[in-house]
């Protein structure tokens, strides 16, 4: 098994971990968004969706544990990469200009990542580890977003998630070795579209809930 440890502790192996876990999160976000869109159909629809989801029981638990393991891998590897990359340029440049490659998204990956981590904890405290005995999940969500501070925090973080995904999506394909002139230009565009869809998809919900509070 030493070969496996060797593979995943190498620079490319660590990026493989980032790509696989990162793409899985994007898949998770797509499913999460599809579920959340039921909010537009009203509180009853959203509560039914939540009930059906929880009726999955052990399947849901397995899924959640998988997400937790992936999150640990993504975060620990991401922080390792950040520290190593920071050290690799021991003396920073006096003047540092882009040659035309880097983007706002690409240079902020570690910072947007850390903010997302903090947000996920906050989000779980808000809506998962909360007493649901006397209120439905829709009531909990609606009362949260009646507070403009919550609404603004959520919208801002969704913009940050969109930034992370805008670089992460195509970058993960590149890391996996899937880069060919036949489709890479399309993937680069798709990366922006996926980022926008996540940003607008999740970001508009708190605004909507606030306006109908």
């Amino acid at each position: 098994m030493s070969w496996l440890i060797q593979t995943f502790s190498s620079s490319i192996g660590k990026k493989l971990l980032m790509a696989v876990t990162g793409l899985s999160f994007i898949g998770f976000l797509a499913a999460h968004l599809a579920g959340n869109l039921t909010i537009y159909a009203g509180g009853a629809a959203f509560n039914t969706y939540a009930e059906k989801l929880h009726a999955l029981g052990p399947i849901l638990t397995v899924f959640e544990l998988g997400l937790l393991v992936f999150a640990l891998l993504h975060v620990i590897t991401g922080i390792t990469l950040f520290v190593q990359n920071f050290k690799a340029r021991s003396v920073p440049y006096e003047k540092d200009r882009s040659a035309g490659g880097r983007t706002l998204s690409s240079v902020t990956m570690p910072y947007t990542g850390i903010i997302i981590l903090g947000f996920v904890v906050f989000h779980l405290i808000n809506f998962s580890f909360v007493d649901k005995s006397d209120r439905t999940i829709f009531e909990i969500v609606r009362s949260a977003f009646a507070n403009p501070v919550y609404m603004i925090i959520y919208v801002v973080v969704m913009i940050i998630v969109a930034l992370h995904v805008r670089h992460g999506f195509w970058s993960a394909f590149q890391t996996l070795g899937a880069n060919h002139p036949k489709y890479m230009p399309a993937l680069m565009v798709l990366s922006v579209i996926v980022g926008l869809m996540i940003g607008f998809g999740f970001g508009l919900l708190p605004i909507y809930l606030w306006t109908v509070r």
Binding site: A88, G100, T175
Partner: protein, 257 residues
């Protein structure tokens, strides 16, 4: 048509460092009466003559061919590896890229793996270590095989040639926000993995070369794409994707460890 000014005066804010263990600092040096037809290296020659006249220590910099083919020259000029012109080595960068009165910041390639030896001269021997680890093919001695015995498709030969255009200058490392050597390494891997002569050792090469790259202290690729934009030979990150595939193939599907 406006006539180009024949000569310009510049101010260099240039990194001076006596030796690898010494502390360095920026020094302001005047570059006077510089012909716009000079290359950046010739401009440094001219400044050095002036410094020598004044009894000062000339600026140390690496160079050899001065025609963009050897990969010996290189510095970060105004925040860009090899300066502001695309697909151009420092020795091929002409002073007409600058205007009279400009202040230009000149720094050595910065990476933990590249120690500064003096002023703009850095130790790029980690790139040689990578070459020794796998940037070669093993060929038995004996009669030369017939040139046409191994059919190679034209497109494949072109791709291998594109990868082989790398001159080992290290600008990709210098330009990468993470000081990663992946573009350089991917050039070597691609050039050999694409051709039948490179295939027998492909798995061992991929593993050894990546191991060596990591040990040398280069950073990890974050797909910023600065390297392909700074590379004087315009190597594409398509090569990095190929390096990753070769590494995965070797790690998960070969007998090599």
């Amino acid at each position: 048509m406006k006539k180009l000014p024949k000569r310009i005066n510049l101010t260099l804010k240039i990194w001076r460092q006596q030796g690898s263990e010494k502390k360095g600092h920026f020094e302001t040096v005047a570059a006077r009466d510089i012909s716009v037809h000079m290359s950046f290296i010739e401009m440094l020659d001219s400044v050095n003559e002036q410094l020598a006249m004044e009894g000062k220590d000339p600026i140390a910099f690496d160079n050899d061919c001065r025609e963009g083919i050897c990969g010996t020259c290189g510095a970060v000029v105004d925040g860009r590896a090899h300066g502001p012109q695309k697909a151009t080595t420092l020795c091929q960068l002409h002073m007409r890229q600058f205007s009279d009165g400009d202040t230009i910041v000149v720094e050595p390639f910065r990476a933990r793996a590249f120690k500064v030896l003096k002023d703009l001269v850095v130790d790029r021997s980690p790139l040689d270590k990578i070459m020794t680890a796998g940037g070669f093919i093993s060929v038995n001695t004996g009669g030369a095989p017939d040139g046409n015995a191994l059919p190679i498709a034209q497109e494949i030969a072109e791709k291998a040639m594109d990868a082989a255009a790398c001159i080992g200058c290290g600008a990709c490392v210098a330009a990468c926000p993470s000081a990663s050597a992946m573009l350089f390494v991917s050039g070597k891997i691609s050039q050999l993995a694409l051709l039948p002569q490179g295939k027998p050792e492909a798995a061992r090469r991929a593993l050894n070369i990546v191991k060596t790259m990591d040990v040398c202290g280069f950073g990890n690729c974050s797909n910023h794409r600065e390297c392909e934009n700074a590379c004087p030979k315009e190597l594409s990150i398509v090569n990095i994707a190929r390096l990753n595939r070769e590494f995965f193939k070797a790690s998960f599907f070969s007998d090599e460890t």
